[in-house]
Symmetry: D4
Subunit: 249 residues, 8 copies
Amino acid sequence: MNNDKLYELLKNIENGQATADDVMQQLKTLPFDDMGYAKIDNHRQLRTGYPEVVFCQGKSIEHICGIAEKFKIQGDKNILFTRADEAVFEQIAKIIPDAKFNKLARIVIVNPCPVQNNGKKILVLTAGTSDIPVAEEAATTAEIMGNKVERIFDVGVAGLHRLLSKLDEIRSANVIIAVAGMEGALVSVIAGLVDKPVIAVPTSVGYGTNFGGLSALLGMLNSCGAGVSVVNIDNGFGAGHLASIINNM
Amino acid sequence: MNNDKLYELLKNIENGQATADDVMQQLKTLPFDDMGYAKIDNHRQLRTGYPEVVFCQGKSIEHICGIAEKFKIQGDKNILFTRADEAVFEQIAKIIPDAKFNKLARIVIVNPCPVQNNGKKILVLTAGTSDIPVAEEAATTAEIMGNKVERIFDVGVAGLHRLLSKLDEIRSANVIIAVAGMEGALVSVIAGLVDKPVIAVPTSVGYGTNFGGLSALLGMLNSCGAGVSVVNIDNGFGAGHLASIINNM
Amino acid sequence: MNNDKLYELLKNIENGQATADDVMQQLKTLPFDDMGYAKIDNHRQLRTGYPEVVFCQGKSIEHICGIAEKFKIQGDKNILFTRADEAVFEQIAKIIPDAKFNKLARIVIVNPCPVQNNGKKILVLTAGTSDIPVAEEAATTAEIMGNKVERIFDVGVAGLHRLLSKLDEIRSANVIIAVAGMEGALVSVIAGLVDKPVIAVPTSVGYGTNFGGLSALLGMLNSCGAGVSVVNIDNGFGAGHLASIINNM
Amino acid sequence: MNNDKLYELLKNIENGQATADDVMQQLKTLPFDDMGYAKIDNHRQLRTGYPEVVFCQGKSIEHICGIAEKFKIQGDKNILFTRADEAVFEQIAKIIPDAKFNKLARIVIVNPCPVQNNGKKILVLTAGTSDIPVAEEAATTAEIMGNKVERIFDVGVAGLHRLLSKLDEIRSANVIIAVAGMEGALVSVIAGLVDKPVIAVPTSVGYGTNFGGLSALLGMLNSCGAGVSVVNIDNGFGAGHLASIINNM
Amino acid sequence: MNNDKLYELLKNIENGQATADDVMQQLKTLPFDDMGYAKIDNHRQLRTGYPEVVFCQGKSIEHICGIAEKFKIQGDKNILFTRADEAVFEQIAKIIPDAKFNKLARIVIVNPCPVQNNGKKILVLTAGTSDIPVAEEAATTAEIMGNKVERIFDVGVAGLHRLLSKLDEIRSANVIIAVAGMEGALVSVIAGLVDKPVIAVPTSVGYGTNFGGLSALLGMLNSCGAGVSVVNIDNGFGAGHLASIINNM
Amino acid sequence: MNNDKLYELLKNIENGQATADDVMQQLKTLPFDDMGYAKIDNHRQLRTGYPEVVFCQGKSIEHICGIAEKFKIQGDKNILFTRADEAVFEQIAKIIPDAKFNKLARIVIVNPCPVQNNGKKILVLTAGTSDIPVAEEAATTAEIMGNKVERIFDVGVAGLHRLLSKLDEIRSANVIIAVAGMEGALVSVIAGLVDKPVIAVPTSVGYGTNFGGLSALLGMLNSCGAGVSVVNIDNGFGAGHLASIINNM
Amino acid sequence: MNNDKLYELLKNIENGQATADDVMQQLKTLPFDDMGYAKIDNHRQLRTGYPEVVFCQGKSIEHICGIAEKFKIQGDKNILFTRADEAVFEQIAKIIPDAKFNKLARIVIVNPCPVQNNGKKILVLTAGTSDIPVAEEAATTAEIMGNKVERIFDVGVAGLHRLLSKLDEIRSANVIIAVAGMEGALVSVIAGLVDKPVIAVPTSVGYGTNFGGLSALLGMLNSCGAGVSVVNIDNGFGAGHLASIINNM
Amino acid sequence: MNNDKLYELLKNIENGQATADDVMQQLKTLPFDDMGYAKIDNHRQLRTGYPEVVFCQGKSIEHICGIAEKFKIQGDKNILFTRADEAVFEQIAKIIPDAKFNKLARIVIVNPCPVQNNGKKILVLTAGTSDIPVAEEAATTAEIMGNKVERIFDVGVAGLHRLLSKLDEIRSANVIIAVAGMEGALVSVIAGLVDKPVIAVPTSVGYGTNFGGLSALLGMLNSCGAGVSVVNIDNGFGAGHLASIINNM
C-alpha cells in the first residue's frame, strides 16, 4: 500500500466506484497482512517512504511464492526480492511474469515500473572486481528507490593513481557507498578526500585472515577518516537503502 | 585555517596591511603544518568544512600541548580536543586560558566562540543512563559543528512505553543518533519507527558477554531495521560528525 | 519405561499374568539398556517425567536404527528423534511403520499416541519467517510433552505494530519461547512487556556479522529485559522441553 | 508505585483526604518519571509484579543519588541497587539512612521492609567458594522478591560425593540456580538428576582459557542435560529474578 | 626401520648372508628417506619407540601412494595411515594388498601383523554415540602400539547412573582417554573419581555455540579435576599415542 | 585425612587410646567437611592419593583463613595453598606459624614436612626467563607430591644450541613439563626428540597477538610432535600434579 | 607496459616507424586501462618493477577472460593469473593458446617467456607435505620474477634431524620463505639458525584448533626468533613477491 | 662476544699476553653462558651478526640486573634492553653507569659506543602521533645496528596530501617500516607507491573494535599492496631488526 494507491481508493468512494464499506475492508488489512508464516507490512511505505522488501535467503520457496502472490494481488510496484537466485526467480516469474531479474545483484523486481530520480548522485565505488555483486545490490536498490546512481569499480588503494584520476566524479557525488573486501582501506582514503557521508560496505572477498569479511569490517569501523559509517558484511541492500534516505533529505 | 581567515589574509593585502610576501609566508604552511610528531592539517576545513580535531587518548601530554600552542598562534576557533581528561584540560588551559571543558563529554573546546545552528534537529537517544558520556560526546560535537541538538536519555526497550511516549520528538528529528550498550536493541526498534538515517553508536556499557561493546556492535550491524549504519564502539565524536554532515546537506 | 508401563507390569503380577521373576527380568534392564554404542536411559521418564529423546545429527544411520528397534520392542510411546532428515525418517519407518515425520520441525515421532495438554498456554514467537524451523521444533516438542501451544510468527521489532497488535495473545501465555536470528532484539522488547518467563532461542538466521547465530546469542544474553534466559543457538528442542517443565509446575 | 500504593491513593479520594485532582497529578507521573538522565519506570511493578531495580555499575554517583532521592520521596519499598560498592552505599545511606547493604551480594536495599515468602524453595548452588558473590546476588534478589531460598555452596563435580550427599535437598527444590565458573560442568550433572528448571549462571571465576567466563558460558549453553537455560556471565540478579517469576507461577 | 629389522640386518652380516657394505647401503637411508615431497623418518622407531605415522588429510593421493610404496619396499610392520577415507584405502590396497581398513576409525594399517599387549588397560570412554569415530581412532592406535584397550561408550553425565554403574571398570584402568563433544563435562567428573592420568579429547560433535569443538576444548582445559590434560579437537590418534607412551612406562 | 592418619586412628582403638565411638565421630566428617562456604574433601587423599589443594585466587581472605584453621585442627601435612600472594601468606602464617612461602611459585605450604621422592625424574623446562614463575609452581607441586624434579630454564628454540646442549638431561627424564609463552615452539621440538610424555604448559608471557597465552596454547594443541598434551594457560599446578601421577605409575 | 616495450615505442618514432601521434595514442592508456569492471594497471611495472598480477579467486570467468584478452592485445610477457583452477586455465588457453598452467601452484602464466635469474638463492621450505601447494605458489612467483629458487619440503621440527641435515643449504640462501601449517614452529627454529630475512607463510593445513590457519599465524607472529615477518594465511604469491623484492636489492 | 673481541683474544695469545689455557677458559663459555634463570647466547653475534637483546617486560628486576652484570663483565658493546621503564633503567645504571635510556623508545643501551651506518636509508613512518613510541623502538634498534634512519610521523591516509607531499623521501628509502594503529590503511597505500620491502607494524593504538591492535593487524595481513609483511602488534624492535638485516644484504 503506497500513497498513490491509498488516494485511489479514497477517490473511488468519491466517484461512487466503491462504497465506504468496500474500502474499509481493504484498509482493514492495514497495517499488516497476516499470512501466518509472514506478516506483510503494508503500512511500511506510508511510514518509511519505502515498500516492503523480501529477503529471500533462508526462506523456503513456498513462503517466497506465497508472499509474491500477495504482492501480485495488491499490485504494489517495484517490490524487491533480494538475495534471490535463478531458482527463486523462476518460481516468482511463474506467478508474476513481468518480474525482472538482475542476476549480478541477485535481485528480483516484482511489478517493475519506471522510476524518476531526484537528480542528486549516489556514487558506488568498489576496491576490486570481486566486490561488484555487493556493489550492484546497493546500486540497484538505490536506483529503484529513485536515485541517480554512478558506478566506479576496481579503484582500490594499491593503485592510488586509478582512484585519484576519478577524484572529480567522486567529489561531485552527494552520498558515497564504498564497497571493499580484504583490508577495506579504500574507505579511509575516500573519507579523507570528501566532505560527504561515506557508507562503508565490507565484503567477504578475500582469504585467510579475511575471516569472511571481518578484516574489512574492523578496518572500516576503525577508519580514521570522518563521515564514515558501516553496515553489515555484504549488505549491499542496506547501504543502498540508507544512501537513498540520505540523498532524499 | 578556515574560509574566514583566508579571506581576511587576502583582504589584508588589498588594504595594504600586509604584503603579498607576508601572506605568502603564512599560506606556505598550507596544506599542513609539520611539527615533526604531528602534522596539523590546515587544509582540512577548506576541504571538508570542519576544523582539525585532536584525539587526545594515547598522545603524550607534551604533544597535546605543542598542538594546542600551534592552534593558539593560528587563532582557529572551536577546535575540539576529544577524549580529554581533567589533567589534559588543565595543561591546555595554561596555554589557552579561555578553553572550555565539557567533563561529561570529555571534550576541551579551544578558542570557543558562539555557533549558529541550521535549525534542523539532530536527536541523540540513549538506552540507559550509563550511555550518557558517549551521547554527550556526540551531542557536543554536533552542536559545535552548527546543528540544533536534542537529547532524550534512558529510553531503552525494556520499558517500551518510555520510548513510545517520545515518538513525536523522535519523528521530528532530521537525523537520529542512537547510543546503546548491552544488546543495542534500541536501534532496531527506532529504525522501524522512522524514515530518517539512524547512526548507531554501540557503547562498552555492560558486563560479562558484553565483551567491551561487542554484543551491542553485532546487534546493531545485524539490525533488521532500515536506514541504520554503525560507527566504532564508544565513538560519539564520529557519530556527531557524521550526523552533522548529513544534517547540512 | 514410563509410570503407566511400570504400573502395568506390577498389575500383571497381581493378576497372575506374570511371575515376579518375569517382571524382575524386565526391570533389570533398568536403569539403562546397554547397546554398546548407546545406553538407552529407561530410567529417565521415572526420574525426569520425560522419555528419552534421540538427537540424530552426527549419529550413523545404523546406530539410529538400532535405537529405534530397541524402542519398538519396549513399546515406549511418543519417542522423539530430533534433527532427523527425510533419509533418517525413511529408515525408521521401515522398522516402525506408524512413525510420523514433522518435516519442518525435523522431528520423527515413534509410536505416536494422542497427548492431553494441561490447558496452560506456551507461546512460540518468531522474529522472521526464516526462524520457523527452529520454532516448530520447540512447538512440536512442547506439544508432545503435554502442553497447549500457540504460534505467532514473523513479528520482529522492525515492524513494531505487528508485535503490539498481538499483545493480548502474548500476555495471556504462561511461558514464552522467543525465537530470533540476526540481532535478536525481539527478546528484549517482549521481556519488557510481560511478567512471564521468556526462553530465548537464538537462531543462525542471518549473514555477515551474524557469525552463525553469535550476534543473536550475545544480544539475548545481554538483554536488559527481566525474566529472560537463553538456550543454545537453534536449540528448539531444549526450549520446548524447558518450557514444558515450567508450564507443568 | 506498587499496587498497595495505588490503592491507598484511590482510598484517599474515597475518604476525602485528597481530591481527584491531587491524585491525578500524582498518577500523571505514570508510567514513568523523567529525570532527564534517567526515566524511573513507575509502571513496572504494576506491569511485571516487580519494582524497578537500579544497576549501579557504570552510572555516575550523582545519577545514583538522584535516583535514590526520587525513591525516597515516592516511598517505594525494597528497591534494589545492584552492583553497588561501599562508596555507593555510603552515599545512598546519607539520603536514606535505613538503607541496608549486603556486601557479599553487592546489593543495597532501599526502604527495606519484611517480605513474606511463598513457601516454595529456590535452591542456589555453587561449584566453588569463589562463585559465592554471584550466588548471593541471586539469592538476595530472590528473597526480596518473596521466595524461600536455600544455599548449598562448593559442590563442584571434582568431588562428586559432596554433590551427591546433598541430593535430597537438591531434589526438593522447585527451581534451581546453578552458579559455576571454570568449565561449568556442575550444570550438566545437576540437570541430569532433577526434573526442575535449572537456571545456569556462568561466572568469570577462573584464569587462562576461562576468558572471563566464556568457558563456563559455552559449557552451559552446550549442556546435554535437559531443562537448562543460561543468563549472562556473573548475572546473579537476572537469575534470581527469573527464578522468582517461575517460582511464583 | 624398527629394532627387530636392524638386528636382522646385523645378523645377516654375522651369518655371511650380507656384506657390511650391503648393510651400510641400507643403513645410509637412516635417519630419513628423502622423497622430495616427503622425508620418511626411518629413525623414528629407534628414537621414540613408535613407527612413522602418515596423516592423510590434506595430502594428495599421489603423495600418499608414493609413501605407501616406500613402506612396501622397506617392509615395516603396522604402519598407520590415519584420517584415511575409502578412496585412500582403495589406492593403498592396490599397492599393498594385505592393508586393512578400520572404517569407523578412518585408519589404514599397512603390513599388519599381530601385536602383543602389555596387559595394562587403557580405557576409552565417550560421552555420546556421535563421539565414537574419534574414540575408535584413539583405541585402534593404542592397540596397534601394544596396549590392552577397553571401550565404554555413551556414558555422558546427563545420565550419571550410566557412568557410575561402570565405576569398577573405570577405576581398574591404568590410563583413561575421555572423548566428549558439546560441553565436555564427562572429563571433570571422571577426573574427580580416579587417580590415574586422564587424556581429554574434545570432539567437534555438537551445534550452535559448540563452534566446532571449542566449547568442549575450553571446558576440558578449565576442568577443575586433577590429572587432566588435553589434546587437539578430534585428535584421537594423539590421545591413543600418548596413552600408549604412559601405559608403557 | 591421609592413609597414615587413618591407620593411626584405628591403631588408637586397638591400643585402647580411643573408643570406637570417638573414632566414629572423627570419621563421620568423611568424606567431606562442610564449612558452608567450602566443603573440605577429606576423602580426596584416600581416593586420589593426593591431599586437598586450595586455590587462593578469587577467594576472600576470610574464607582462606577459615580453611587454613580447619587444616590446622586436622593436622594434615604438606597442604598446598596455590596462587597465594604475600598478603595471603601473612594471614595464614598467623594461624599456622610454620607455614612456608615459595614466593616465586606463589605457593604456601601448610604443615610442611619432608617428602621422600621416588627417584624417577620429572624435568621442568622453560623457553624463557619470564616463564619461571609458572615453572616453579609446577616443580614445587611435583616435589611436594614425592618426585625428584630437575629444572632447565631459558632454552627456547631461538637459540637451538642451548637446548641441544642439554639433550642428555632431557632424555634421561621420565616425564617432561615444557613451559613456554609466545609461540610455544619449544614443545614441538622437545616432543620430536624424546619418547616420554610431554606436558605442555602455555604461559601468558608475551604481548600483542599473544592474546594472554592464546598463541602458545594453540601452538601446543596443534603441535605435530607425538606424546604431547596440554593444560590450561599458566596452570603450573595442574602440570605438576599430572606429572606426579604419571611418574608414580 | 614494461621498460623494454616503452623503449621500443620511442625507438619506433626515432626510426620513422611510427609517428609521435601513434605512440601518443598508445601511451594514453597509461597509467591504467579502464575496462569498467577492472582497471588494468599498465603503469605498475614502471613503478614497482613487476607486471600486473590477476588474482582469479572470486572473479567471474567473464571478467577473467576480458582481462586476458586485454593482455593478449598488449603482448605483456609472463603475466601471472594466480589462484586459477583447471576451468580458468581452459578458458584462458582458448584466448592465449601458449598459456602455461602450473597445477600444483594454481598459477597460469600468460605469454610465458624465459626469465634470467640473478643468481642469488631464495629458499622455500615447508614443514609438511600438505604445505606444498602454497610453497609452489611462492616458488613459481619468485622464479617468474627472476630469482633462483631452491625447494626443501617436509622438514618440520617434529623430526629435527631432517631439518638439521639441510643446514648448509639453508644457510646458503639469501632469503628464506618458510611455509607451515599447524603450529608453525618451523619458523622459530629457522630464524634462530640464520641471519637472513625469513618470510613466514602460515597455511590452513591442520584441523581442530588450527582454526583455518590461525594457530600457525599466531605462532609465527609471536616467534621469538629474529628477522621474521609474516604474510596472510596461504599467501604464497605475496611471499614470493616480497622475497623477490628483497633478493633484487 | 663479537668478532672483534674474539680476534683480540686470539691476538693476546699470539702476543704472549695470555696463555692458550686462559683463552680456552674464556671461550668455554661459548656458545652460551648458563646463569640458571637465563642462558646468555654469546654465540649469537657470530651466528647472526647481531648481539643478544634483552626483552625486559615480564622479567623480574633481579634477573635483569643479573644479566646486566654479566654483560658488564664481558664488555659487549651496544647491548639493547628493550621494553624497559624508568625503574629498570635506574637499576641497570647502578651497575653500568654509562648506560643510556631512550625513554620514548623504552630502550636502555648498555655499553653504548658510536656506530657507523652503511649509508642506505631505512624510513620509519607512522600514521599518527600516538604510534611514535613503537616507531622510536624500531628506529633506535635500526640505528644501533648500523643503519641510517629517517623518521616521518603522522602521515595517516585521512589526510592523503600530507603523505603525498613526502613521496620523494619515501621513494628514496631502501626499506620502509610503516607503523599504524586503528585500521592500518597506511600500509596498503604505501605498498602501492613503492617497490621496496614494507615492514608493517600494527600498534595497539585505538579504541573499541580496535581490540588491542587486532584491527590494524588484520588490515595489514590483508593488504592488497605488494611487498608487505607484518610483525607482531607493537613489535618495533622486531621491525627494526628485520629492516636492518634486509638493509645490510
